[in-house]
Symmetry: C2
């Protein structure tokens, strides 16, 4: 029987070049979150189905749910907010406020299409257990700090307050959320569907569009100024809506200038996150980054190049003319590795030098040292820069300080 | 309806203190693997069920398998070796040899018990596509280097060659694998069950036990000497068996002195890994670390303490006597954070100082700075060491250089 040699649709493998760039991005984000006192949390990939059900509205049908061998209904993690609510409810000894970040895959039975996958990493950071606006301001400051850490320059955190929508139906709020897609006419059409005539609907939309910043938005902006966040990095936008029903206060969306793929992150303040788990009156605020989109834009804007990231984690490869030379490489490799330089030895002793160079090129290893009999005698090693072809004869200690 | 506030049996959450120690261990391992030219690979958590079936022998019943909404039989990742084989077969443009490491969760419907979970992280590193013994030697050297990077001192890589068992049945090999559990008598009983009398069984066991190192073992040991791996870090053990059927050459097991929980890693050389995916004659060698056990031993041996790892990622918290002081903290926090120091501001302005200190203690934050009116006027900040209670009045730039 032939076995399928592919993943199901909507699922991906990340080969080394992509995987190491992604790891770099995630590590930068982790370090940024930790700078602001957020600590890592990991939750189980599998939850009881009932833990997830009744939490996601009509999206619930996208949960991966199944029966295990013991007859239990279980489900794969769908987001990181419901597991966070479970954790805060389950472990009463956690510090409060609880500041955590979480970087784990989630699974959704979506229709796979460009940029939409059935498995993807979510990156969330939240402060749960305080209503103080400092928490909101720190969430926004952390988001701005993180984006700068990744090399982004032109981006904005759009801010709104859900109270701007008081009296509007969830359907209208969802229509507003699609403003950039359906335009003003589309939003007004939706408002009319709720029993207003054209003039009323237009007036209602205009009222929303011309709303002034609320007191809470003012408080946030004062704190952001105190945090020294540059003024061009945030802006009040009364038409910002966010799709999810559970936001109750400030809401945020992160936009990168010149990127048409939509917002790369968003979030807001939610009340009563843990009520359904028996712990009432816990308010939280957080932002979630869309890592696939961030990765997309970084590629588009050549940010990986500009921060000097080669696409191989290996810095230098040792090539050789035969077994004695290969074994001589082992000593050289040890010196390089103990000096902290990622080093590879081409293992086979039967392959021509050209073949070994092909391998280094394929892996995009930036430097190759070629070891022949002369090099073994003199200790003068030929270091070849693979991007410009230049070659220098150098002693190993010079090579080490050069590559470090 | 009350919602269950727990994970299913055999599944775990990792709260911040444990999660950050685990992240530290995994990061050390990644960096070690990269030093030797291994690059990261990530595969899809969900595979077609047929990709996994027929690969794990009787363990197959432990695969988490289910039908998705489209009627496809899909399954959760069970190990990282079969996905590696799929990837090597699926992407013909990958460099060969392919040196990858992989750090992802796997799921097994095991009977949960002490130290055995239904979801756990596997840490694998393999070189696929060369039979050269240098690859085997580098795998062992990388394992030794990684263990030392984690602070381990007394450990051994036990080495054997599967050819020592030529002529023995898989059942006898599996009995040998349990030697430490069932003793010599247990192994001999098993051999007898295959039609030998007591004398024959004893002789057979003795023959295995007194086997000399094979030529390949000798070649490995020469290379390890060349790699300058200390001689007490590896040893030939003709009774080492390894449970899995697919090993065909050298096999390895990693043992830590004084730890009774079993080996913390193991692996070996396997031929024809990818044959079942239509790509014949691909030989590989690798080791897999058991991260839960490694984490256990590190706790047991206090290695986290000895490498100076505090259990909070946050270095300092700013406490305050009210809103003005809290807002003054924001500027101090920004200076600390931009200097690279993980800093937290206690957000609420209504909580007493004692309550703020409780919070810092709970999070095991090592330093607290208390801001009152005097501090705001003089800029002399009170830095309190939370482990010994000592307090010093210092300017912010002195604090920064102290905490860095």
């Amino acid at each position: 029987m032939a076995t399928k040699v592919t993943t199901p649709k909507g699922f991906r493998d990340f080969l080394p070049q992509e995987s190491s760039l992604r790891a770099f991005v995630l590590e930068k984000l982790r370090k940024s979150f930790e700078k602001f006192g957020f600590e890592p949390l990991e939750t189980s990939a599998i939850e009881f189905a009932e833990t997830l059900k009744g939490k996601y509205g009509e999206e619930e049908k996208l949960i991966y749910e199944f029966t295990d061998r013991g007859g239990r209904q279980i489900a794969l993690r769908y987001d990181q907010t419901v597991p966070l609510a479970r954790v805060v409810s389950q472990y009463p000894t956690l510090p409060s406020p609880f500041k955590r970040y979480q970087v784990q895959p989630v699974w959704r039975a979506e229709n796979p299409q460009k940029g939409r996958f059935r498995e993807f990493i979510q990156v969330d950071f939240d402060t749960v257990g305080t209503e103080n606006c400092l928490a909101d301001a720190e969430i926004v400051t952390t988001a701005v700090f993180s984006m700068k850490a990744l090399g982004f320059k032109d981006f904005t955190v759009r801010v709104n307050d859900r109270s701007v929508f008081d009296g509007l139906s969830p359907e209208t709020i969802r229509a507003l959320d699609k403003l950039q897609k359906i335009g003003e006419t589309g939003v007004i059409e939706q408002i009319k569907r709720e029993g207003y005539d054209t003039a009323q609907a237009k007036a209602l939309f205009k009222r929303v569009k011309n709303s002034s910043p609320t007191k809470r938005v003012g408080e946030l902006f004062d704190l952001l100024e105190n945090f020294k966040v540059e003024k061009d990095k945030y802006a009040f936008d009364p038409t910002l809506a966010r799709g999810l029903d559970y936001y109750t206060g400030l809401i945020f969306e992160l936009e990168i200038e010149g990127y048409s793929g939509g917002s790369v992150g968003g979030g807001g303040r939610y009340d009563d996150l843990t009520g359904i788990f028996g712990l009432p009156n816990v308010s939280g605020v957080g932002i979630s980054f869309g890592i696939d989109r961030i990765f997309d834009v970084m590629n588009e804007l050549n940010l990986f190049d500009s921060i000097g990231l080669t696409t191989s984690t290996t810095k230098v490869m040792l090539a050789h003319f035969g077994e004695d030379e290969r074994n001589y490489c082992i000593g050289i490799a040890s010196q390089l590795r103990y000096a902290g330089i990622n080093t590879e030895i081409y293992p086979d002793v039967t392959k021509k030098i050209a073949k070994q160079f092909d391998y280094a090129n394929k892996k995009q290893i930036p430097f190759v040292i070629v070891i022949g009999g002369d090099e073994m005698k003199s200790g003068d090693l030929a270091l070849k820069n693979m991007s410009n072809g230049e070659q220098e004869k150098l002693k190993i200690d010079v090579i080490i300080s050069k590559l470090k």
